[in-house]
């Protein structure tokens, strides 16, 4: 399925340089990049790209927007883009985060997608600035061969361009690709190219016009497991009696090369380094401090292979799936824990309450394809509103639990393609009157009272027909 798409993609990219002349007329191009350095880290299954751009304004008008261009196939796998700018003189440099937003341009060649970096201060004519851009790709390492046996190591393809795709003219650029080991099967040569140790260097290339593209393919060994959470549902339930209950339902899959043929336990146990090197054996979840009543189970009961380490700053839960996950194998499980409410619930200035909690998945080095966060507010709370630092799909639901009458409002937020970097905090604001806390105890008490009254009444009434 994927292969033909990619092939057409490559074909398309080679056309980019031809099309570039058509797009020349774009009014944006009074900027140019004097120096670009790109470091691509493919050691884990999340591809991290660090891009350092030195942007110069050669035009006459000041501009505050810098465009990043991505080929459409990469955009689908793009999890996050962050841009930083260094501020201040030497020694006293601070990094300032810049706004990055996806942008649609009318005449994008071959469906290239853009992200706009909004500079803090407009770049005047003749000035230059240095931008640090980080972006992450998920599902970008394609296992090849797609199926491996237990004793084979996992080889993957990484496809990119030796030249940085950019709507601007780039004077000088270099690309480094860092592979996890020295075992590299092959890589496309776009001279000058050389390889030293675990690093492949493309460049430096001089004076490349906008939308230059030169596809490369790196085939290398990557024996790290590819933990992918296909679906994660996090439910955060607020109880004003002092507890925050978190329940997380995972559907985990090993996204690497599919396992083929036999699984021999004897090989796996006696030769752990050779056999099943890319298997997923354990995961680390970083939980908030002061976590209590942690459980780790699945639909058929408790999973006994987990360890919890707590200290004052963080808690770490090391979990092992019931069986080692080989490529393509799946597992589902649930992690649940309680947290003290005062660490996460605050009162805002306008007399509302808000929950401040992490959005993402607590498992380290894990890609989440689809994340649903549900915040269950206590019964009787009103006007919920969520503040999330990135765009998410939101809607409201109602949930009934433990003797509810009107039901609890649930704020549901959904996001696709999430990486651990995005474990930023979100806030849910709502209003709640503490008197509602007493509703259920009072209800129970009155029910029992009525029951006893009924008993007493029954004992004192003679219901017999005979006199």
């Amino acid at each position: 399925m994927e292969a033909p798409i990619r092939a057409t993609g490559i074909l398309g990219f080679t056309l980019f340089s031809l099309l570039f002349f058509v797009c020349r007329s774009s009014p944006l191009h009074n900027l140019f990049i004097s120096n670009a350095e790109r470091r691509i880290d493919v050691t884990s299954h999340i591809v991290k790209v660090y891009l350092t751009l030195k942007v110069e304004n050669a035009g006459t008008t000041p501009t505050s927007e810098v465009l990043l261009a991505f080929p459409p196939t990469q955009v689908d796998h793009l999890a996050t883009v962050e841009a930083l700018v260094t501020k201040g003189k030497r020694k006293k440099t601070t990094l300032v985060r810049l706004d990055v937003k996806p942008t649609e341009l009318p005449d994008a060649p071959n469906g290239a997608k853009y992200f706009t970096i909004y500079l803090a201060n407009p770049l005047n004519s003749g000035e230059s600035t240095t931008l640090e851009v980080l972006y992450l790709f998920t599902h970008s390492l394609e296992p090849f061969p797609a199926e491996i046996g237990q004793s084979e190591s996992q080889l993957v393809h990484y496809r990119d361009s030796a030249l940085i795709l950019s709507p601007y003219h780039i004077k000088q650029q270099t690309t480094f690709i860092k592979t996890p080991s020295t075992k590299v099967e092959s890589f496309t040569r776009v001279e000058p190219t050389n390889r030293a140790g675990t690093e492949i260097k493309y460049g430096p290339y001089e004076d490349r016009p906008p939308y230059s593209f030169s596809p490369i393919l790196v085939h290398f060994e990557n024996n790290s497991p590819f933990p992918v959470v296909e679906e994660l549902v996090r439910e955060v339930e607020i109880s004003h009696w002092g507890n925050l209950q978190v329940t997380e339902q995972y559907t985990l899959v090993h996204g690497g090369a599919r396992h083929k043929g036999v699984f021999s336990r004897v090989d796996y146990q006696s030769r752990p380094t050779l056999s099943g090197a890319s298997s997923l054996q354990h995961l680390l979840a970083r939980l908030p401090p002061r976590v209590h009543s942690v459980y780790y189970r699945d639909e058929i009961g408790n999973i006994s292979s987990s360890h919890l380490r707590t200290d004052s700053r963080k808690s770490e839960l090391e979990i092992e799936p019931r069986y080692p996950l080989f490529g393509g194998w799946k597992a589902t499980f649930v992690i649940g824990y309680g947290l003290p409410l005062q660490d996460f619930l605050f009162e805002s200035s306008d007399d509302r309450r808000y929950l401040n909690f992490t959005f993402g998945c607590p498992l380290l080095e894990t890609v989440v394809d689809k994340l649903t966060v549900k915040v269950v507010l206590p019964e009787g709370s009103k006007d919920p509103s969520a503040v999330v630092p990135f765009p998410v799909d939101q809607h409201l639901e109602t949930k009934y639990s433990y003797l509810d009458v009107v039901g609890r409002t649930v704020v549901v937020m959904e996001k696709k393609n999430l990486v651990p970097v995005q474990n930023s905090h979100f806030q849910v604001y709502y209003t709640f009157k503490p008197i509602f806390m007493l509703a259920e105890p009072l209800m129970l008490a009155s029910a029992f009272f009525l029951f006893f009254v009924a008993c007493v009444a029954y004992l004192h009434i003679d219901l017999s027909i005979r006199k």
């Binding site: 043929g261 036999v262 699984f263 021999s264 336990r265 004897v266 146990q269 006696s270 699945d298 058929i300 009961g301 408790n302 999973i303 006994s304 292979s305 019931r322 069986y323 393509g328 194998w329 799946k330 597992a331 589902t332 009934y400 639990s401 433990y402 003797l403 509810d404 009458v405």
Partner: protein, 785 residues
């Protein structure tokens, strides 16, 4: 009550004292009962605390799955449920072949809780159903024993039942099996029967039929009720205790009960067609004849009556003979003589092992050993005879029922370990009676010895004075009772009997049982010690012996607790990493667990309704690889699951069950012969094992590449080195083995293409098949090695 009335006539001031005392007694016994219920519930939670809240063993998983289905799809879907995930390719009609009582009970509890917005999962409800119902069962025991011998005995019996190990073994939290609710239903049905017998109220008779209906819904053991109650009725008639109360207690039960029982799909027309129920109908007829005779006797003069009797007896005998002859002919014409295999094995303990290996292969169908009695009922075994004696002094309708109950259940428990469960309540009731009566005797004699003390305290004063008042009234009352008992001894009201019992006792104590103070104190202490021993044993049994869920095992070694969670590892793997419609073959023990935990289709499961199908799997397991592959392939099996304990020393693995596979397989397919697998009558897997054994599929799947673990292939269960160490599998491939090797899953290799080398292959195939044919024909040395 008659007692306070008579005593007020004598001493009017005592009346207020006594009502106050009764009220206090009522409140006290209510709280004691509440505590007994709490204890019955909480003593069964050891499994949750020590392990986890999880369904145990094999059958509970099936019940759990059915309950899940019920909770998800509703009752109508449940009745019509055809399960295509088991007994592939036959399937199973679940709604019509399952006792729905337990499932419906748990489903109702779940539905009730959820409609109150208490979001408990079906699993949680299922786990805690058994402890809840054991609390109910202990309350039912109280009611039953109270009807028989009064409140004191009732409380003692309830306390004993709350923690009797035999019942704990089947009702710990997570042990979600039919017996959990059935024992409650059993005791409650008996209680309502006795209650009806004592009161003669049609209301209780109707309730009794409904309780019987619940029992029929819950467990196949309902046949015990429908045979025991007729036996008791017959006993009452024979001993001349026929009364209208007996008629009211029995006739509605048979009519209503049978009608209701026929409503349960799994019973259906069996309620009138099978021999298990005939006794009740026969007694029903006898009861009517007797009632008719009494009626005739009432309206005719004695002379006329004699004539009528001779007439009726001569005609009646002829008719009876004819009817019985027809019945016998009918019953004898059916192959199993109208009795199901399990019932037959009850009557003839050797029946099952002789004819039905599939029944004999289940360990809970074996006769128990003597230590298991001590393990399961402990000191009750010594108290039971005393209780039986106490039931005889004086013998009433209800106490004779208890005697009958214990006598029959002792027999049944001797036949099958599983029926210890029916015996345990009877043992508790009789022991409760024994304990409470002996406490009664000792405390009374202490009070009798210490009149000074007793006069001081108010309550004691009331006690002794009422006792003396009773003693004073004795003469009058015994006269009265003799008067009433002259013509119809069984028609004495229950209350009068109750009255009579302590009064005669008081009299007896006064004369003979003035036990010495010190000896009665020592005896009391010894009794308390006995009780304490029982409690300690029960708690130990609940905590250590009966709380293991058996799907997760633990072992304590010097470096701490070690958990063996291999079963769930394998089921979890199957659940997530095989195709939804793949078929998994394993021995039938693991069928329920595979369908419930792995959600995969199985060939056979623990509902052993189709012997041929099980024999097919047994044959495959005991055949050489190629033949086994053909059998499995014909059944569309994708994976074969075997349980192997040789690496960690888990004794109940498939190799140890293997002879049963051979036996059951050989019972249907004669080419599998048990002697082929035995060397000089011994079952062994070492180098002395027969070649048939070393080449069968079960051996190969269990020991495939086992030698590579330690270089020798030492089996920790059999304590020996395996016979054939290095071999390859040609038709199966290992796809999963759990961490401790306890479960191994193999995949059938796809059939080979037959394009090239067809002639050669077919040649070798024909030779192999022909050699197999020869083997079965001539029975000489095994040719496939």
């Amino acid at each position: 009550m008659a007692a306070p009335e008579t005593s007020t006539a004598a001493v009017p001031t005592l009346y207020t004292n006594n009502t106050l005392r009764n009220a206090f007694g009522g409140v006290l016994s209510f709280f004691i009962l509440l505590l007994i219920g709490v204890m019955a519930f909480s003593i069964r939670l050891f499994s949750v605390i020590k392990y986890e809240s999880v369904i145990h063993e094999f059958d509970p998983y099936f019940n759990y799955r059915v309950t899940q289905f019920l909770a998800k799809n509703g009752i109508y879907e449940f009745w019509n449920w055809f399960d295509d995930r088991t007994w592939y390719p036959l399937g199973r009609v679940i709604g019509g072949t399952v006792y729905p009582g337990l499932t419906l009970t748990a489903g109702t509890i779940w539905w009730l809780l959820n409609s109150l917005n208490i979001p408990l999962s079906v699993e949680t409800v299922c786990v805690f159903t058994a402890p809840i119902f054991s609390a109910f069962a202990s309350w039912a025991t109280f009611l039953l024993t109270k009807e028989v011998k009064g409140t004191g005995a009732g409380l003692t019996a309830a306390a004993l039942l709350a923690m009797v190990p035999s019942y704990i073994s089947r009702s710990v939290a997570g042990s979600y099996d039919n017996e959990a609710v059935a024992i409650f239903a059993l005791i409650f049905t008996f209680y309502l029967y006795i209650k009806t017998l004592n009161t003669g109220s049609l209301f209780y008779a109707t309730l009794n039929s409904i309780a019987y209906f619940y029992m029929v819904c819950s467990w196949g053991g309902y046949t015990f009720i429908i045979n025991l109650i007729p036996m008791h009725v017959l006993l009452c008639i024979v001993t001349g205790r026929f009364s209208s109360r007996l008629y009211i207690a029995y006739a509605p039960l048979v009519v209503l009960g049978t009608l209701l029982a026929a409503l349960v799909p799994v019973v259906g027309f069996n309620a009138v067609m099978t021999s298990e129920h005939f006794a009740s109908f026969l007694v029903f007829i006898i009861l009517h004849v007797v009632a008719f005779v009494y009626y005739i006797k009432g309206i005719l003069s004695p002379k006329m009556f004699k004539v009528a009797v001779t007439l009726v007896v001569s005609v009646g005998l002829a008719v009876c003979c004819a009817v019985i002859a027809v019945l016998i002919a009918l019953v004898a014409s059916s192959p199993t003589k109208g009795w199901s295999g399990r019932s037959l094995s009850l009557l003839d303990p050797t029946y099952a092992s002789k004819y039905i290996p599939i029944i004999a292969s289940v360990s809970e169908h074996q006769p128990p050993t003597w230590p298991s009695y001590f393990m399961d009922i402990n000191v009750l075994a010594f108290l039971v005879p005393a209780g039986i004696i106490a039931c005889f002094s004086p013998l009433s309708d209800s106490s004779s029922f208890v005697v009958l109950y214990i006598a029959t259940s002792v027999y049944f428990s001797g036949v099958m370990v599983r029926l210890m469960l029916v015996f345990a309540p009877a043992a508790c009731i009789t022991s409760g009676i024994a304990l409470s009566q002996s406490f009664d005797v000792f405390t009374r004699s202490i009070k009798f010895q210490l009149p000074g003390i007793s006069s001081n305290t108010e309550v004691d004063a009331a006690e002794t004075s009422s006792a003396t008042a009773e003693a004073q009234n004795d003469a009058v009352k015994t006269e009265k009772s003799e008067e009433t008992s002259k013509n119809r001894p069984s028609k004495k009201s229950k209350k009068k009997e109750k009255e009579e019992k302590p009064s005669t006792k008081a009299k007896a104590e006064k004369r003979l049982l003035a036990l010495p103070l010190d000896s009665s104190v020592i005896s009391l202490l010894l009794l308390i010690l006995l009780g304490a021993f029982y409690v300690v044993h029960c708690v130990w049994a609940a905590a250590e012996a009966y709380s293991a869920p058996s799907i997760v095992l633990t072992s304590r070694s010097h470096d701490g607790l070690h958990v063996f969670d291999d079963f769930r590892e394998a089921y979890g793997w199957l659940r997530h990493n095989t195709d939804v419609d793949d078929k998994v073959a394993s021995w039938w023990d693991y069928g329920y667990q595979t369908t419930a935990m792995a959600n995969r289709t199985v060939i056979v499961d623990n509902n052993t309704w189709n012997n041929t199908h099980i024999a097919t799997v047994g044959t495959a397991m005991s055949s050489p690889e190629k033949a086994a592959w053909e059998i499995f392939h014909s059944l569309d099996v994708k994976y074969v699951l075997v349980v192997f304990g040789g690496l960690v020393g888990y004794p109940s693995d498939d190799i140890n069950k293997f002879l049963w596979m051979v036996r059951i397989g050989g019972g249907v397919f004669p080419h599998i012969k048990e002697p082929d697998y035995l060397r000089d009558g011994q079952y062994r897997i070492d180098s002395q094992a027969t070649p048939t054994m070393l080449n069968c599929l079960m051996y190969k799947l269990s020991y495939y590449r086992f030698v590579e673990t330690d270089g020798k292939g030492f089996d920790r269960v059999r304590q020996t080195e395996i016979g054939k160490k290095h071999f390859k599998l040609t038709h199966f491939e290992e796809v999963f083995t759990t961490h401790h090797w306890m479960v191994r899953i193999y995949k059938l290799k796809p059939p080979k293409n037959r394009i090239r080398g067809k002639t050669k292959k077919s040649k070798s195939k024909t030779s192999s098949t022909s050699s197999r044919g020869k083997r079965s024909g001539s029975g000489k040395k095994n040719p496939w090695q």
